[in-house]
Amino acid sequence: MTTKFTPDHEYIRVEGATGIVGITPYAQDALGDIVFVELPSVGKVLKKGDEAAVVESVKAASEIYAPVSGTVTEVNDALTGNPGLINSDPENEGWIYKIAIADAGEIDSLLDDAAYAELTQ
């Protein structure tokens, strides 16, 4: 199981052929209290870099882009009633959607832990 990052502060945790996507602790901290999440629909086909979801804080709305190409297989419905999960636990309970990865090769081009840490220094 590996976790990779985009320069736009999405993470993708790879579990076999599936990726779990959310925003990083750094991103949630910068956005402040999340008040609403617009989830993608299951079955939606995404190309790498497509807008997949939107997270809104009181003062800002941020698009969440697809870190890799694939098809949305599941979304975190718990966020609808409790968007604050992204603040309290962005990497576990605050995940946003799962994607069936179309091209495993795209994973390699993402940032690893060290590279992302450097980016957010």
Partner: protein, 447 residues
């Protein structure tokens, strides 16, 4: 100049603090050829009494509603506005406040908007309402766009009973759009809109009472729309009708747009008016315009803020639900105060009075030889067919001091079938004498 506080000495002193020799130095970034390179040729400043005299002279060249019998409606209605309403909206703290961006010192405006939203929701029978839009016509265009966002479909069907101006505004907003179907005018209240709903339809737009005064069957329209997964947008230009007619929300409407001018706001030759927009709770995040919400302050006291602002242009910029920024705050206040003064008891009586006077008007018009009332149903407005072209007839009535309604040809100049039609409204201000004056003048003109 009475509005400018500085004396010449103060100006000089301030320039000294800034460290420039004269005011022109502060305009140094302006290209020389554009700076005061002209003589405006405009009159010089003027004392208050001379300005007032000038404006009074202009106002005096208009025939005001109170100058004689008045039957003009068609989207704007002459109602009584209680003196309290106009007094209150001129209080400094209402009149000269800005949009409530600092909620701690704007609780007056915010609580009022919360009350206004509640009134609009109750009136329309919908779950939620926004804090107002510019007017009913632009509100209709906004509702159409909202329906497209909600359904992710494009086809919009406008009923032939929709106010022609509203139709034209939607046309302008959806310029070059092949998915907009505008049904032809239906002065007899006939409707074929149900035949145009298919599985590509985002919404149908139905006005009731419609432009010609007929009451439309909202329940049937809602069922037909929903059967195809489309939304029903109900448009109301005369909100007083909701005192007697079933709330569109109770009949299945998905979005209700109304012109709120009738309550609390004068005719004003067309503006400022007040757009009302109400919808279902689940559509709240696609609703355009500002929204006020309840919350608590740091000490747990109830308070109000503008909320869901991430839908708006100042945050979403090119992804906003609408480019609307300013709304109709003061008109919403006037509406809300007037509605609070009326209450359910007063609002219902007001509606009954309007309908009663319209019934008298219809009966009196029927009795004029040559005049045919086209409506079997109406609230306070109806359409008549006369044996003569309507526009000229209305002009002749105006010369007699009677504003006898709106010739349909003024709004539908290309449709020759409506050339002899007049839309007339009665309100609580219409007297038996007014009706008698109109019908006898009509009888003479048509004789």
């Amino acid at each position: 100049m009475r509005y400018l506080p500085h004396s010449e000495a103060e100006r000089a002193e301030m320039l000294g603090v800034i460290g420039v020799p004269n005011i022109d130095a502060l305009f140094s970034a302006v290209p020389a050829l554009a700076l005061k390179s002209f003589d405006l040729g405009l009159p010089a400043h003027s004392p208050e009494f001379l300005v007032e005299a000038h404006m009074r002279a202009l106002a005096g060249q208009n025939h005001a509603g109170s100058d004689g019998p008045f039957f003009v409606g068609a989207g704007a209605y002459r109602h009584h506005v209680p003196a309290t309403v106009d007094h209150l909206i001129q209080r400094s703290e209402w009149l000269t406040a800005y949009t409530p961006y600092q909620p701690e010192i704007s609780q007056g405006t915010l609580q009022m908007l919360f009350e206004f939203q509640t009134q609009v929701a109750k009136l329309t029978g919908m779950d939620v309402a926004n804090a107002s839009l510019y007017d009913g016509s632009t509100g209709t265009a906004e509702a159409v766009l909202m329906a497209r966002r909600l359904t992710k479909r494009n086809k919009i069907v406008l009923s032939g009973g929709l106010h022609p101006h509203y139709r034209d505004v939607v046309r302008a907003y959806l310029k070059d759009d092949a998915d907009l179907v505008c049904l032809s005018a239906s002065p007899e209240g006939q409707g074929d809109i149900l035949d145009h709903i298919d599985d590509q339809t985002a919404a149908i737009v139905v006005q009731t009472p419609d432009f010609y005064g007929h009451l439309r069957n909202i329940k049937t329209a809602a069922d037909a729309a929903h059967a195809k997964g489309a939304l029903l947008i109900v448009v109301i230009t005369e909100v007083v009708s909701l005192g007697l007619l079933e709330a569109p929300g109770a009949l299945g409407a998905d979005i209700v747009v109304a012109e709120g001018q009738s309550i609390g706001n004068a005719l004003n030759f067309g503006g400022p008016y007040l757009g009302l927009l109400a919808t279902r709770k689940e559509f709240i995040r696609q609703m355009p315009g500002r929204i006020c919400g309840e919350t608590v302050d740091a000490e747990g006291q109830r308070g109000f803020v503008l909320t869901l602002s991430t839908r708006e242009q100042h945050i979403r910029r090119e992804k906003a639900t609408s480019n609307i920024c300013t709304n109709s705050g003061l008109c919403a206040l006037a509406f809300s105060i007037h509605m609070a003064l009326l209450g359910e008891a007063g609002f219902t009586r007001l509606a009954r009075l309007n309908h009663a006077n319209a019934c008298k008007l219809a009966d009196a018009l029927e009795a004029v030889p040559g005049v045919e009332v086209l409506n079997k149903t109406f609230f306070n407005e109806m359409t008549i067919r006369t044996p003569q072209p309507a526009a000229a007839l209305i002009e002749r009535l105006a010369k007699r001091g009677i504003l006898g309604g709106v010739p349909v040809s003024r709004l539908e100049p290309k449709d020759h079938s409506v050339g002899n039609l007049i839309v007339l409204a009665a309100t609580e201000l219409t007297t038996d004498e007014d009706i008698a004056a109109l019908t006898s003048a009509l009888a003479e003109e048509l004789a």
